[in-house]
């Protein structure tokens, strides 16, 4: 096939559940590509000699290579390419902001076309492997060196896999009762089904990784005790646990909660199901504050729990929203209202302390700020009162303080993140490495995974050289 022919093929459309149907159930919205669709989409890849998409990927997946295998119908070979660099391809294919990473560099964009749907193809291959592969991985022979991992989110899992493949005896310690971190408690089933995460965890178990739920490093076991227990080094991937609030009046009223609380109740505790003991408020008029993926997840969850009106309140315009394009599109299709250029300044409640109104400040965009985005500024005197019975605050998270508070001599930043060497992710304590949100202060699944990979390589090098 000539390049011209390849360029004439239309970009594939993801198969999705009908918006009306899906907004009342937890089934996964994206249904994936069929084999025919995937092969046709793969034909669109020109196989650039100097592929920019690879540069756009935080873990530098060999993208044209895996797509070439799809063109040939060799899906398991394609999966093997993904596995070389990504430990959670089925997850990344679903939750990465491809439009800002790999796909944003695609050659098609330079000629006015649409990028190759790299994310869809990644997902197709990972799903194909899960459903058709033998599901077995060879456990490498052990080198006898014990490594501890704090946290079982995407960063910790990615690190654990890479170290286990090198023969280390890896133990992962998790505070919650479930393994998977944000992939379990945060991202809803309709976007990332739990069985996909569990499959990946199963593969890690085959590699010899052991998981210890209900164990808080710094509380149940200290970092010093890990050393006494024979762990040569520790990788901290404890995440950005603490939800931010805005410190405005009425924020502690009943019905105002963090997205972490809301999503944890629904996703981790199954609170929407009658047979579960954990309750969750089911608002009829719900406002979600924020414009990130977690805000979209919260809004769409509220819709699924029967809300009549769900509104995203975001202080900038839609263009600046940090959420993935697809999440915004899905949310809109499901009937979520977008109230951009508004910012809550006060919540008001009834006599029982239940929120019933929010006061919004109308905003406009001013000069660009430090993030490069135009800074939202209040329009003097313009406010709006909106009736609500539930508010979900989704304005970012701060680093979990447990490790920084309990490890003596560990250098941390003013924000409470662990300070590490940018290249090696080694902290001020040579045997302690850290990555993901505890270092970045709130980023994406793929960046966290990239950190896991990077730290695994650096720790392995340090151990091999006898430095630690």
């Amino acid at each position: 096939m000539t390049a011209k022919e390849r360029m004439q093929i239309e970009r594939v459309k993801m198969n999705e559940l009908d918006p009306e149907y899906r907004s009342h159930c937890i089934e996964e919205v994206n249904q994936g590509l069929t084999e025919e669709q995937a092969r046709q989409e793969a034909q669109r890849c020109l196989g650039c000699k100097n592929p920019q998409c690879v540069q756009g990927c935080p873990v530098n997946i060999s993208i044209p290579e895996f797509i070439a295998h799809i063109q040939e119908g060799q899906y398991l070979d394609a999966a093997a390419v993904l596995r070389r660099t990504s430990s959670l391809p089925a997850v990344c294919g679903r939750v990465c902001p491809q439009e800002r990473q790999c796909e944003s560099k695609c050659i098609h964009l330079k000629t006015g076309g649409k990028a190759v749907a790299i994310g869809y193809l990644e997902r197709f291959v990972a799903d194909y492997e899960r459903n058709n592969g033998d599901g077995k991985v060879q456990r490498p022979s052990s080198n006898g060196i014990k490594i501890a991992v704090v946290g079982s989110g995407p960063c910790g899992l990615s690190f654990a896999g890479d170290m286990a493949k090198r023969g280390y005896e890896v133990s992962v310690f998790e505070a919650l009762h479930e393994i998977g971190g944000v992939l379990k408690y945060g991202i809803p089933e309709f976007r990332l089904p739990n069985n996909i995460v569990d499959h990946e965890i199963g593969l890690l178990r085959q590699l010899g990784v052991t998981f210890n739920p209900d164990t808080i490093i710094g509380k149940t076991i200290t970092v010093d005790q890990l050393k006494e227990m024979g762990y040569r080094a520790v990788f901290v991937a404890s995440g950005a646990g603490l939800p931010n609030f805005m410190n405005i009046n009425g924020e502690n009223l009943i019905g105002v909660m963090s997205s972490n609380e809301y999503l944890t109740r629904v996703n981790l505790m199954g609170a929407a199901r009658d047979e579960m003991d954990t309750p969750v408020l089911k608002g009829k008029r719900v406002a979600v504050i924020g414009g990130g993926n977690t805000a979209m997840d919260s809004a769409r969850t509220a819709k699924r729990l029967g809300a009549e009106m769900v509104m995203i309140v975001y202080r900038r315009s839609e263009e600046e929203m940090p959420a993935r394009l697809e999440e915004v599109k899905h949310a809109k299709e499901e009937g979520i209202d977008f109230h951009t250029l508004h910012n809550p300044i006060e919540y008001r409640g009834d006599e029982k302390g239940r929120v019933n109104e929010m006061l919004l400040q109308v905003m406009e965009l001013g000069e660009p700020d430090a993030s490069g985005r135009r800074k939202p500024v209040p329009v003097e005197g313009k406010t709006e009162l909106v009736k609500v019975d539930m508010v979900i605050v989704s304005v970012g998270v701060s680093p979990n303080p447990i490790i920084p508070r309990t490890v003596e001599g560990l250098e941390t930043s003013k924000k409470g993140t662990i300070v590490v060497n940018d290249d090696t992710l080694q902290s001020s304590i040579p045997t302690l490495f850290a990555g993901g949100d505890i270092v970045r202060g709130g980023a994406t699944v793929i960046l966290a995974m990239g950190d896991g990979r990077c730290a695994a390589t650096a720790m392995h090098n340090a151990i091999t050289k006898g430095e630690i």
Partner: protein, 274 residues
Amino acid sequence: MNKILSKKQFSEKVFSFIVEAPLIAKARRAGHFVIIRIDQRGERIPLTIADSDPVKGTITLVCQKIGVTSTRLCEMNEGDSILDIVGPLGKATEIRKFGTVVCAGGGVGVAPMLPIMKAMREAGNKVISILAGRTKELIILEEQVRAASDEVIIMTDDGSYGNKGLITNGIEMVISREHVDMCVTIGPAIMMKFVSLLTKKYDIPTIASLNTIMVDGTGMCGACRVTVDGQTKFVCVDGPEFDAHKVDFDEMLMRLGAYRDLEAEAMNRYLNQK
């Protein structure tokens, strides 16, 4: 899995369990709590650690039947296992020599108070414990409290045991006869509010251990947030103990009611199933 080794009934709705949890038994100090999940259906609920035996690897938990999960826990027996226990959580109590310390515990709050009494006394304080309950039947752990205190005053609302009156009457009795350097209070939020108001009047530093709604217990959800000195704090990681005089108890009382209707519905469902 954490096996229940023994179970005791303290009062109609209050039970004590000795449970296997070797790592927590070793790591915990006075003031710490755990989050438990009894089974796959269970809610994650916080319970303060009343005692531990690091040698046997056990902790003692005291639970009052309130919602579905706590009721189901109280219906569990020796030999059953609690699916998840995580901890020790929160900051430990600051233990040092203050002088005379009044420990004012109400209802099931006496259980988490017990290790604090012991530790305060070991640190050289004179410990005066005041136990309060609506009626005689609700006074728990009296014997253990006597062993851990220099003096014990018992208050019942109806006068069926000890002195008739509220916990605040008991504290005032002590204040009126001797100097008090420190007060620690654990119990229902409304009780801690009035203890705090009283000791503020007498300018006695007071620590309250707060028992708010929690989900994860590690700072992740913010369900437990309270206002202390005008600032939002998370009870699970910043507490559970705070300067009582700075706690907004009215807000805390309001927030404790967040799920009251849903809990009542769930309780009805549970009772109907049975």
